[in-house]
């Protein structure tokens, strides 16, 4: 059943991505409704998978890298569904679907073994891990918004915009969305650290260092955005590259947590 839920989620995301590519290729730049429904069904299927795993493991289902990536992909989808419905950021689904799909496929390809060492019945540990992953989800979507900013800015700078230009949101709105998402991610990550302290997790070692490095990186980006030194293109690049770095470091952190 778990495998079916996972495959269903992958298919929904694949359909969302494929439909978007087809619609863009055919010159239809408003794939919104189909894309949104497919993403929602994908998130539902992922949620179903995670609930089955959670019930089986009697814990938050982030016991290995595969589950962690699915949880992260689910967080990105959910935040997109909320942001997409609230702010109606045109074409955001088209840019989110490939990221979610890639995370989902990598998760499917990874061995699905559970690390026994992680599972101690401590709700603070689970809160810590879940909050940090939802925070990463917000960072992921901020990276998507940042990437969209770079595409739209490139269109504006080129002075010969292609048809997609007319359908992408304004760069100011994308910049604001990126900033808000970074703040959400940063606050969640900070709360995650706080719950980690309550769980008496070690504040030393490689895992802590890498985690604090990411937290500091995002703090620096937000500080730069606030004082105006990091704006526009540089801010968009920073939010996209920071998430890429976070994704690269995620397996390392997982490994150091004994969950890979």
């Amino acid at each position: 059943m778990e495998r079916i839920a996972l495959l269903a989620a992958t298919l929904f995301y694949l359909f969302s991505f494929g439909h978007t590519l087809y619609a863009l290729g055919a010159g239809r730049f408003q794939p919104g409704r189909f894309n949104f429904i497919a993403m929602a069904l994908g998130a539902f299927a992922q949620g179903w998978y995670l609930s089955l795993r959670g019930a089986a493991e009697h814990a938050c289902p982030i016991g290995n890298l595969s589950e962690t990536l699915i949880f992260l992909s689910w967080s990105i989808s959910l935040i997109y569904l909320v942001i997409g419905a609230t702010y109606r950021l045109s074409l955001m689904g088209a840019f989110t679907a490939p990221l979610v799909l890639i995370l989902q496929i990598v998760a499917l390809l990874l061995p699905d073994r559970v690390s026994v060492s992680f599972f101690r019945p401590n709700p603070w540990v689970e809160t810590h891990a879940a909050l940090s992953l939802v925070g990463y989800g917000a960072f992921g979507l901020a990276a998507v918004a940042g990437f969209m900013f770079l595409v739209q800015e490139g269109q504006l700078k080129s002075r010969r915009p292609s048809p997609i230009f007319h359908h992408l949101p304004p760069i100011n709105i994308l910049s604001e969305a990126t900033l808000r998402l970074l703040w959400v991610g940063f606050l969640l990550l900070s709360l995650s650290f706080a719950s980690g302290l309550l769980a008496h997790l070690a504040v030393a070692g490689g895992k802590f260092l890498f985690s604090i490095l990411i937290w500091l990186l995002y703090a620096a980006i937000l500080f730069g955005a606030k004082n105006g030194t990091l704006s526009g293109r540089r801010f968009a690049w920073a939010s996209s590259l920071a998430f890429l770095l976070a994704l690269i470091l995620l397996p390392v952190i997982e490994h150091l947590s004994g969950r890979a």
Partner: protein, 346 residues
């Protein structure tokens, strides 16, 4: 029952003629009553815009209805009405094309849909729309929506002013709190500023070498005049700069903008350079947060949009054909005898 469409438009009649036949809103009700009194006309919807005057009527005898319409229009205008006409199915196709903007002067413009909706609403209120006309117009609104969403017929702006507005929208989103500065009070600058004002810009500063001209334009568009020597002092507060001075060399250079941009703390700046020779050094477009468009690039985008729209016409026509088929099926169904009824009668 047939649908008749008869009228004149920008292709068949010059503006001098069209304005003679135009129907004002307060005359519409009376005209609809007269149209319905034509023998064989059961219902009528009258569309009158700056580019067209058209009657859509449900009639058992379309040619007689056409004669009646011609007589009424000619009598009102005091000259022979140069009318074209279509009957079902061409009349149906014509309305679908009109509502979708395919028959407009600027292909794909969307204002016409609102005008068609208004014409239909006035006829409905006057009790002048019959069942086939209700169905026809509601179908036309669906067709227009479908054409708009499934093709790129409304894609992109088609004039320098609307290109500037779209670009500003794609940089800033809402234009309501944006500040515009006009450098050099030329006619195109004024038109561009007015386009931006029509999209919500409230604050406009006008600076010109001749202060009196700046004051005059500022008064006309509800802006504020500024001495030319002081324009740099307001630079930190503006979002859009429209430049069209007669300067023989570039007045906006990277050297001049670098210190000014620092004051802006990364806020984007949209520079619209309408001057020939150009006021802005093209290399300022490479500076972060600066988006420079000169007259050529604005015109290129307008022409690109029109090209895209023209290429989409075939797709739109094929969509419209499908809808015409759907509407005709419905018309046939209301005229064919109900088999259940026949069964009961037998």
């Amino acid at each position: 029952m047939n649908i008749l469409c008869a009228g004149l438009n920008h292709r068949t009649a010059h503006l001098d003629v069209r304005e003679r036949f135009a129907v004002r809103e307060n005359e519409m009700q009376e005209l609809l009553v007269r149209l319905r009194s034509i023998e064989g006309v059961s219902g009528a919807v009258m569309l009158s815009t700056c580019n067209r005057v058209e009657l859509y009527a449900s009639s058992l005898c379309p040619l007689r209805a056409l004669d009646g319409f011609r007589a009424i229009l000619s009598e009102r205008a005091g000259l022979e009405a140069p009318l074209y006409h279509h009957v079902t199915p061409q009349a149906v196709r014509h309305l679908f094309r009109v509502a979708s903007g395919l028959d407009s002067m600027v292909i794909g413009e969307t204002e016409i849909l609102g005008q068609v909706k208004k014409a239909y609403s006035m006829a409905s209120d006057a009790g002048s729309a019959t069942r086939p006309l209700h169905k026809l117009f509601q179908h036309a609104f669906r067709v227009a929506k479908s054409v708009r969403t499934e093709t790129q017929i409304t894609s992109g702006p088609t004039s320098v002013g609307s290109v500037a507005v779209e670009l500003a929208g794609k940089i800033f989103g809402s234009l309501e709190d944006r500040r515009v500065m006009i450098l050099g009070a030329g006619e195109i600058s004024e038109r561009t500023a007015r386009s931006l004002q029509s999209r919500g810009v409230r604050s406009v500063i006008v600076s010109n070498r001749t202060y009196e001209r700046a004051a005059e334009l500022a008064a006309e568009i509800g802006g504020m005049a500024l001495h030319f020597d002081h324009w740099e002092k307001s630079f930190a507060d503006i979002d859009i700069l429209i430049s069209s001075t007669n300067a023989p060399h570039a007045i906006l250079t990277p050297e001049k903008l670098t210190p000014l941009l620092r004051l802006r703390r990364g806020a984007p700046l949209f520079v619209i350079d309408l001057a020939v020779p150009r006021d802005a050094d093209p290399s300022i477009n490479e500076m972060e947060g600066v988006f420079l468009y000169d007259i050529d690039s604005l015109e290129q985008i307008a022409s690109q949009s029109l090209d895209i729209r023209r290429q989409e016409v075939t797709r739109c026509e094929s969509l419209i054909d499908q809808h015409v088929g759907g509407f005709l099926s419905w018309m046939r169904s209301i005229h064919s005898p109900d088999p259940h009824h026949l069964g009961r009668s037998a």
